[in-house]
């Protein structure tokens, strides 16, 4: 029974300012840090491409199913985000270990020849983020103080 109510003058003025700013709506990326490599840039893709993110794609289980290469990509190109955190967690699950001095991931290739409190030494596989590939390194010393 309240019926219509005409807008008062002050509300009409408010509406004009609101309407003007309506054409410059905030985007989610306006509230997010600038990403060094992969800034959020919505691009119109053909409608038959999946337009929504895959279900559960923000879960650890999803990241565990990603290939090692993909996990390295996420780790190095999405730094400071939850994706990097989940990728690191998944890599560790695959017994990769992060070296905080070389900032690279290492994985034992075989049982180390020497193991003591400070370090282990032997043959390792590591991921070289500059040459973007996995390499084998013999006689490498992994000092535990650099184990993240």
């Amino acid at each position: 029974p309240l019926g219509q109510l005409t807008l008062q003058k002050e509300h009409q003025i408010q509406f004009q300012l609101m309407e003007a700013t309506f054409y410059h709506m905030p985007q989610p990326c306006d509230s997010e840090r600038l990403r060094n490599y992969l800034q959020r840039q919505p691009v119109q893709t053909p409608p038959h491409y999946p337009q929504q993110q895959l279900p559960h794609s923000d879960t650890f289980e999803f990241f565990q199913r990603l290939s090692t290469e993909t996990l390295f990509f996420i780790f190095y190109y999405m730094e400071g985000t939850k994706a990097q955190y989940l990728a690191a967690k998944a890599l560790k699950k695959q017994s990769w270990r992060f070296h905080t001095k070389y900032m690279m991931w290492f994985q034992r290739h075989e049982e180390p020849k020497i193991i003591n409190e400070e370090y282990e030494q032997g043959t390792y596989i590591y991921f070289d983020y500059e040459k973007w590939g996995q390499r084998k390194k013999e006689g490498f010393t992994f000092e535990y103080k650099y184990l993240e």
Partner: protein, 520 residues
């Protein structure tokens, strides 16, 4: 106020600020950012920026204006896309914000929060002043919100970083931002309203103010921000047709409320009363959303359970927490005194004339009544009635709510009001039909009692309308609303199906039957 450049201060500031932006993007990402910050502060000091309050104010005013001018300049640059214009602008603003955050963090000694928070409030106040001046005088309808939004959100994120000193001032930081956002509420800065909603619903801000501040100290502040939003939206939502800019802001509000309903239902439970006071009565679904909240540790019995005995439910005698001082709305004090006296002595009858005089504030159809007073009065009388019933060791029921000073007032409001007044009165009751608690129970009995006792079919129809309009909108529906309506249509005592208005139109009849079927 505009900065008067006396001794080349502006030029020095501009040079200093450019140097900082360069430092930030080229040195600060290294291993020892604080080292660079330390040498920059020495530069500021050398140039007299830290000499006193006035110089510091000038510095921040000029630096903020440089960032905002960059935002307009970049956006006006037709050779680049909007995305690149924003990225270029943020290149400046993110550096500026980092400087502010470092100055806040390192000012005063580690334990002295006041120095830090005073500096933060100063800077926030300067940005607010520039924004309001920009919107009102400089750019008007061409006002651009994104530069200001960036300053606020990135400063909040910087000051929310995991850092022992910042953790120490986190409540002060959240409080400072709440004051700032209240000063920039949409009614004050309509051109900033979308950015404002982004800011108050930012995931980090929500986490801080609603989850991380101990003892829910942030809840009241946040409720005030939502009330600012509802007050702004109210005139635009009061009519059925929404203009596109309003629809977008309204849907954005619904998203925020859904997150609150899902993650912080107790917050909506505690502040529902203040929210319903400012949400227009015709804004049914948004109000239902708020009234549907219930404590997470509570299990709601299925309202359609056959022979559900509401009075035997465990929580039904527990009074709900209401964090709004609703009795303060019962003004003037003389009226409150007369109300209390009537409740005590059930006299004098002249009180009802005073009641009507206080509730009616204009003759303008559609806004004749003081809605906050109506809501407060109904809730106050109801809580007094519950206490009165409990004093007699009874529980609310059709019998125990009857013939009392409290019910006199409700029946007077039902019988003696016009359509509009009665609609608002019945809404005030229906707003209490929420999750199982003593208010839901009492007001459910009261509404059913009013339906049963009245000899006016118009009143019965209006009670049905008030319930129905809340039920036919999309979900969610408050539990108390459902159990009241189910009781009304199921219990033969109310002779619901005999009323003509139930059969007034085929689709209405079908709707009642579909609800009845789901009950059976």
């Amino acid at each position: 106020t505009d900065v008067v450049d006396t001794d080349g201060f502006a030029e020095k500031t501009e040079h200093l600020f450019r140097h900082w932006v360069y430092t930030y993007h080229n040195e600060m990402n290294g291993r020892d950012p604080v080292k660079y910050f330390g040498s920059f502060v020495n530069r500021m000091n050398f140039l007299g920026v830290l000499k006193g309050d006035e110089q510091l104010t000038k510095f921040f005013t000029i630096a903020t204006k440089m960032c905002i001018e960059a935002s307009y300049r970049n956006l006006a640059d037709t050779t680049i896309t909007q995305a690149i214009a924003k990225t270029k602008t943020y290149h400046w603003i993110d550096a500026y914000v980092r400087l502010i955050a470092l100055l806040v963090r390192h000012s005063g000694d580690g334990s002295n929060s006041n120095t830090k928070l005073n500096l933060l409030n100063k800077v926030l106040g300067i940005v607010v002043g520039i924004l309001l001046q920009d919107q009102e005088q400089l750019h008007g309808a061409n006002f651009q919100q994104f530069g200001y939004q960036r300053i606020f959100i990135m400063l909040f994120l910087e000051l929310s970083a995991h850092d022992a000193i910042l953790e120490n001032i986190s409540v002060g930081v959240v409080t400072a931002f709440c004051h700032t956002y209240h000063m920039l509420r949409p009614a004050n800065a309509p051109g900033f309203c979308y950015a404002w909603l982004e800011l108050i619903s930012n995931r980090v801000f929500l986490g801080r103010i609603l989850a991380m501040i101990p003892q829910q100290k942030g809840w009241f502040m946040y409720s005030q921000l939502l009330i600012d939003l509802f007050k702004y939206l109210a005139p635009f939502l009061r009519n059925a047709e929404l203009a596109k800019p309003v629809t977008v802001l309204y849907k954005g509000t619904l998203r925020v409320l859904l997150v609150l309903l899902h993650d912080f239902p107790e917050f909506l439970c505690d502040y529902h009363f203040g929210f319903c006071d400012v949400i227009p009565p015709n804004c049914i679904q948004m109000r239902n959303l708020i009234l549907s909240a219930y404590p997470r540790n509570m299990r709601l019995p299925d309202p359609f359970t056959p022979n559900l005995k509401v009075s035997t439910l465990a929580d039904i005698t527990t009074p709900p927490r209401i964090c709004t001082n609703y009795t303060a709305a019962i003004q003037p004090a003389s009226f409150k005194k007369d109300l209390d006296s009537y409740l005590k002595q059930r006299a004098p009858v002249t009180f009802f004339a005073e009641l009507k005089r206080n509730l009616q504030i204009s003759n303008e159809p559609g806004s004749r009544y003081n809605i906050p007073l109506m809501n407060a009065l109904v809730l106050y009388v109801g809580t007094q009635a519950i206490a009165h019933i409990r004093l007699k060791n009874q529980v609310p029921s059709k019998q125990t709510v009857a013939s009392s000073a409290h019910m006199d007032i409700f029946q007077n409001l039902a019988v003696d009001s016009d359509n509009e007044g009665r609609y608002l009165f019945l809404n005030a009751i229906a707003n209490q039909l929420r999750y199982p608690n003593s208010h839901t129970h009492y007001f459910s009995c009261t509404l059913l009692y009013l339906f049963h006792e009245t000899n006016s079919e118009a009143i019965q129809e209006q009670i049905t309308r008030v319930l129905l309009e809340r039920l036919i909108v999309n979900r969610p529906h408050p539990w108390g609303l459902l159990i009241t309506f189910i009781e009304l249509i199921k219990n033969p005592e109310y002779e619901f199906w005999k009323h003509d208005f139930v059969h007034c139109a085929p689709e209405i009849e079908k709707l009642f039957e579909s609800v009845a079927r789901s009950c059976m």
